[in-house]
């Protein structure tokens, strides 16, 4: 039977097992919305802004191993979506975005709501397509899903002109795809894996540095096996949190700009470093020249060759999927008669413990007068037994959430690391809650960030999403204020958030429960009450210390050991 292009697009989503489609209608996608209306399998979530559709699809993908899917109209629909797409791209999140385009005969004529969607998104997608023939819709969507989730994942855009979504053709969903110029690697090179094993076994001061790739590839189990077998210290990047249990004694905390002193010192002073699905970001190793001053052997495992040797020289590059590479590495290590030198390793651990003491670990001075943001996160951890999905926005609150909530499982910590997109937290939490209807989902945000997508409280009402929003309201764009305090002579240029709304009333206006928490002694009772309201969204407006700063901090451009530990040092 012949179907319209629109019907075909929806049938493809059904074939891919898509549960939720996050979107917003408009002229160029009317046929697709019509096709959507006439079926029940794919459920549509109507957001209030296209950026939120993409973040919600993104949160859905990050909290599962599935591809997030979104649908937007042409022109302003797709331009609104760009921030979301770039966010997903920077963090390698598998996603398919379908956008409507003006009719193919009108392309190039500055038609109503025309933008060059393929051109505008080109630098922030893994790949994109403009459909030119109705027969191409099914094979292209098949390719889009394959590209999004294979190799290094990423967002893929399919732009469908309106007239094509209304033309008819036979629907055949291809069983297989092959893209001749695209052949992502699987296994790693065995010789390199053997060399890596040799280096690891001979190390005196080894360090394991694991990133978002572990979470993306589902290799947490393999990683944990490797770390336990070797007995080495391990650190995670912001994106890697949960890839190794944070409560494990071998975990030395997150590294980087706001990482622990011991993690950063161990990175700087180790003699063998193995990087696993991590990309030596500038927020992670700071100044590259400073990092390179200390000689060390580096093993780097990543599926994307361009991640390897991009910012630092690598001695043993291993290109491949983490799971098979780590399995093979584990097998080689287990078969080896050699063992890491116990005395060397003990001395190294002793050194790391000393750094932990010298750096003071993660600490803050709690108060009975004013709510400390770190205390809110610690209490959140306690109340949720470390078992919640935590999404966050961007700023100081994000760093405190990363530092003080100890993630023992992958895909529980959901934040925008690469692009650092304020406004990510709430819509991402919607995607997470839809994927995990029974789970506890907390969104840690700031009064600045939440206002970038606060309209989504309306979506949450419509779809009964009982998210718990923890707004650490310091009345400042706190992360900006912190930099201005440290590097711009206390000149707080435009970082004070004046004229804030009454968030309690605002939450109530959207039909939710609002709470304002002003006293430290109220933090725990309030959180308990909020999390007991299993069916309701609760917006908690915590009035936190406006002067609190995030420590430790490696100032931008400095080396990993040039860290500021706290205000009073």
């Amino acid at each position: 039977m012949e179907l319209t292009g629109a019907e075909i697009a929806i049938r493809c989503l059904q074939e891919e097992g898509v549960e939720y489609l996050f979107g917003y209608p408009g002229g160029a996608v009317l046929h697709i919305y019509d096709a959507l209306f006439q079926q029940e399998q794919v459920k549509h979530i109507l957001v209030r802004h296209e950026q939120a559709a993409i973040h919600a699809a993104d949160g859905y993908a990050r909290s599962s191993d599935k591809v997030g899917v979104a649908l937007v109209t042409s022109g302003p629909g797709i331009t609104n979506a760009v921030t979301g797409i770039a966010t997903a791209y920077m963090d390698s999140i598998p996603m398919v975005v379908i956008s409507g385009q003006v009719p193919s005969y009108a392309i190039g004529e500055d038609a109503f709501q025309e933008v060059d969607a393929v051109g505008i998104t080109r630098p922030c997608v893994k790949h994109n397509f403009l459909i030119k023939d109705v027969k191409d819709i099914a094979p292209t969507i098949k390719k889009a899903f394959y590209l999004a989730k294979s190799g290094r994942p990423g967002p893929v855009l399919v732009d469908i002109p309106k007239d094509i979504s209304n033309q008819r053709t036979e629907f055949i969903y291809p069983e297989n795809v092959s893209i001749r110029a695209y052949n992502p690697v699987g296994k790693g090179d065995s010789t390199q894996i053997k060399r890596a094993a040799q280096l690891l076994l001979g190390a005196k001061r080894p360090m394991i540095y694991a990133g978002g790739g572990v979470v993306l590839s589902g290799a947490a189990e393999q990683l944990t096996g490797l770390v336990r077998l070797l007995g080495f210290p391990i650190t995670n990047t912001l994106m890697g949190l949960g890839g190794f249990p944070a409560t494990d004694k071998q975990f030395v905390g997150m590294l980087g700009m706001h990482g622990t002193y011991e993690a950063n010192m161990a990175m700087q002073h180790c003699d063998v470093l193995v990087a696993i699905g991590a990309r030596f970001d500038d927020r992670v190793i700071g100044n590259v020249e400073h990092f390179a001053q200390v000689p060390r052997k580096i093993i780097h495992i990543d599926i994307d060759p361009s991640s390897i040797a991009k910012r630092v020289k690598v001695d043993v590059p291993i290109v491949g999927e983490l799971k098979p590479v780590l399995d093979e590495l584990l097998a080689v290590l287990r078969a080896s008669k050699q063992q890491p030198d116990a005395a060397d390793l003990a001395a190294w651990w002793k050194q790391i413990k000393e750094w932990n003491v010298a750096g003071g670990g993660l600490r803050y001075k709690n108060s009975t007068e004013i709510i400390k943001p770190q205390y809110v996160i610690e209490t959140l951890y306690k109340i949720t037994h470390g078992d919640a999905f935590v999404t966050s926005d961007v700023g100081q609150h994000q760093m405190w959430a990363a530092q003080y909530y100890k993630f023992d499982q992958p895909r529980r910590w959901i934040n925008s690391g690469g692009l650092g997109t304020m406004g990510f937290g709430l819509p991402a939490a919607m995607g997470v809650q839809l994927k995990h209807p029974e789970a506890t989902v907390a969104c840690v945000t700031g009064e600045g960030s939440i206002q970038m997508n606060i309209q989504e409280l309306s979506t949450c009402k419509q779809f009964h999403l009982p998210i718990k929003v923890l707004s650490l309201n310091n009345r400042y764009l706190g992360m900006v204020r912190q930099w201005q305090q440290f590097f711009h002579g206390d000149r707080y240029s435009e970082s004070y958030m004046d004229a804030l709304p009454d968030f309690v009333k605002l939450a109530e206006a959207y039909g939710h429960v609002g709470m304002r928490i002003e006293q430290p002694s109220d933090v725990e009772p309030a959180l308990k009450e909020a999390f007991a309201r299993k069916k309701e969204l609760v917006f908690m407006d915590f009035q936190t210390d406006p002067k609190e700063n995030v420590f430790p901090m490696v100032p931008g451009g400095k080396g990993l050991s040039e860290v500021v530990l706290s205000e009073d040092l």
Binding site: V118, K126, I179, R180, A181, D304, S306, A309
Partner: protein, 163 residues
Amino acid sequence: MRHIISVLIENEAGALSRVAGLFSARNYNIESLTVAPTEDATLSRMTIVTRGSDAVIEQITKQLNKLIDVAAVMDLSEGEHLERELMLVKVRAEGAARDELKRMADIFRGRILDVSANTYTIELTGTRVKLDSFLQSIARDLILETVRTGASGIGRGERILKL
């Protein structure tokens, strides 16, 4: 260092803009870029001349390979290769200069494609260096127009870039 990189890419709308966009987005330098379909019409062959440190060139080849439409990449400068560029030069050819220009064209194995009362249009192929030196060998004020294709490159002997 100057590098000459060959790329086999799907002959599809937008493929060229993906390559050009990559170079500008990542702040890589393009000295010249030529592209045309190959004997297999579904593929285009591109020659890119660029400059950069070894680390930058390594990233360029990796980033090119990462493009979904790119089927194969070869850094020709890593081995024996040939490089040719085509140039058309229109010169003011009057009086004594007319003979002189004809002579120069012969020396450089150029061909005069078009003759008018006051001009010659000369065709030259060769390496960039050869074309540059031709231009340097004639008086600057005689040159009316130059059009250059940018380099095309190919490996020597069994160095073959094919799918």
